[in-house]
Symmetry: C2
Subunit: 425 residues, 2 copies
Amino acid sequence: MFQRAFLVRRSSIDLAQSSDTQRQSALLAMADALATRSREIVQANVEDINRSLATGLNQSLISRLKLDEQKLECAIEGVRKLAYLSDPLGRRLLHRELADGLFLERITVPLGVLGVIFESRPDAVIQIASLAIRSGNGAILKGGSEASCTNKIIMTTLQEGLTSSEIEPNTLSLLTTRQESLALLRLDGLVNLIIPRGSNELVRFIQDNTRIPVLGHADGICHLYIDSAADLSHALRIAIDSKTQYPAACNAIETLLLHHEIAETFLMSAIPEFQKYGVKLLGDDKSHALGITHCANEQDWSTEYLDLVLSVKVVQTLDDALKHINCYSSRHTDAIVTNDNATAQKFLSSVDSSGVYHNCSTRFADGFRYGFGAEVGISTQTLPPRGPVGLEGLVTYRYLLRGQGHISSEFASGEKNFTHRDLPL
Amino acid sequence: MFQRAFLVRRSSIDLAQSSDTQRQSALLAMADALATRSREIVQANVEDINRSLATGLNQSLISRLKLDEQKLECAIEGVRKLAYLSDPLGRRLLHRELADGLFLERITVPLGVLGVIFESRPDAVIQIASLAIRSGNGAILKGGSEASCTNKIIMTTLQEGLTSSEIEPNTLSLLTTRQESLALLRLDGLVNLIIPRGSNELVRFIQDNTRIPVLGHADGICHLYIDSAADLSHALRIAIDSKTQYPAACNAIETLLLHHEIAETFLMSAIPEFQKYGVKLLGDDKSHALGITHCANEQDWSTEYLDLVLSVKVVQTLDDALKHINCYSSRHTDAIVTNDNATAQKFLSSVDSSGVYHNCSTRFADGFRYGFGAEVGISTQTLPPRGPVGLEGLVTYRYLLRGQGHISSEFASGEKNFTHRDLPL
């Protein structure tokens, strides 16, 4: 295990020095290899599904596990698109003359090696591996055992693709046992970032068991606040979309906050509409009095249902809504519907979530929708990268300083002076 | 303790919404208050020093603890300068039309609350508090007990200054007991970043005992490599400066790597010069044979002397130097002296340290020297902020999305399409 991780690390050092074109060609070679072996990959996936059906895996996991020809084609298309996104490496973020003849640059460079632990979805291997290579990072991946046949053949195929490119196949590695994934968490010196994609429990377990930085979101408790100055027909379609378009997603809303002045009118049309979509509403006392049959308890405000369930609360003021959000939000994405610009501005500047939205659905919180091409996940951490993390989030920077024999004592003595003059980027 | 941290958090939410001018004025008010009370602050420091002398604190710690009128004036001047640095908040990093009428922005915002644990130097309170307020962050500070009188009066004075500004004095708080600083590490929900300034042991202890992200550097094992194509007189002055200008600094070099072709000539003039500066050289076999009297052992390559001691190794090629650096460097700052541009380029792109330097001293790795005005420390982590961390490193960003009733299902159905058109920043 250590040996394999060491190989990934060593290959990643070469990868970091590859050109944009080399990484681009590598992605195209990976896509070609996947296309060539698509029949075998789909066949391996059928095996995984049959085995999982036999062990009684539930239907929603089976559907995540499934990789049919169409889904695979879509994933391959994603790799090609990523190849043509602009290079996140070698960008100059700062360019400054520190003193006569002494020049500072801040340049984007890869993180190094990513450790990615994910569940079910085997297309994640394709997406993550291609994001890693495009951004100049090595990657060690550990998928769920239910997808083991699919993951294995995909990884072999991706490495085959790399063989016909100028990038080392060893920049990618697949772990297969739980023991190996525990060992991964201890590879401080070799792995630079752990990305868990899975349940809250998985994320917390990883955070508590590694000194390597972890990128991830724990919960997705998103709010929609409908202000007294909202266009109520907009509000309703946004509420329905934010809850029902894909309720298992982390960017779906779990709580609806209603300003008391519009609560009655809004619920009159909203209750039947939610019913039509099969959404179970749980209300606080006030919204219960306005027709919501089920009651919400304290626990509900901090529950991520990931299902067609929505808690509803009536608030007196914008400040009450902000207080509720600051208390219960998981700082993923929170939205307001209002036609009052001052109210919107206050909401956008007060809510400290990675996404704060005005008059649109929370479901837009996504790397593809933001135009990042793909994402490794959505970070609800405070420090960058925050929100949907694509290529740009997988790089760091390095300071380059070039002099002509410059030494610090000349500046300490006052013999020379700093100029600190910014130059064009 | 929790109550006080909660107050800092609450005040920091208001601070995050303050204007550039309000934060600027607050810093000037803090500087004025310090100037008014300067005599009392210096007097409190004398008390701390007398107490520490009585308990037998060593001389280098006493000199770090000392805050005389001149040092204090310098620190106050630093606060005023920081007031006039440009605002790191509210910067638009991304501006994109996602679809007709749907606009995405990425805007810089404060991190929230900083927890800073530092040793000895009481001027750190002034520097950190002013960096925090300028960047819109609350701060909870814990200084060393040897500086307790000085730290207390400085904090009271800073808060007095804030009272006459529009920023809440509660955005700053000083902890005084070890128990409180342990409690600080457990304030996951209230504190967003821990910044330890002190020994390696302190940093490691903190990393192992908190789930809050930690900004810091563990070791400063910096290298200087003198290539066969180096200007040897430049090389020598850079080597002397990098080692002797302030040997206790983390950006001083600990190991000198010499290309075998120039090793003999270089050492002939370097050995007496280092001797003049009182530097003890420890050599590998080859450099020992070239006149270095003391021998380096395996342990030396990973030792941060923080003293006038330097280990020396002769290497056969640039690749050998790179291998040594990649193995032993703490990824702080590593430098090359060469007149061969291809060699320099290879070094700058292969060494993955936060600073990679060509033909200049490693001592330039510093926030002031980079033109950042001030720094909370130097990060040797891979993820940003990396290197010297000033105002810019104390902010994060948030995504703002503004629509006109946009919902995701219209895009999923193909009824509407993403445009992903970048707009001027």
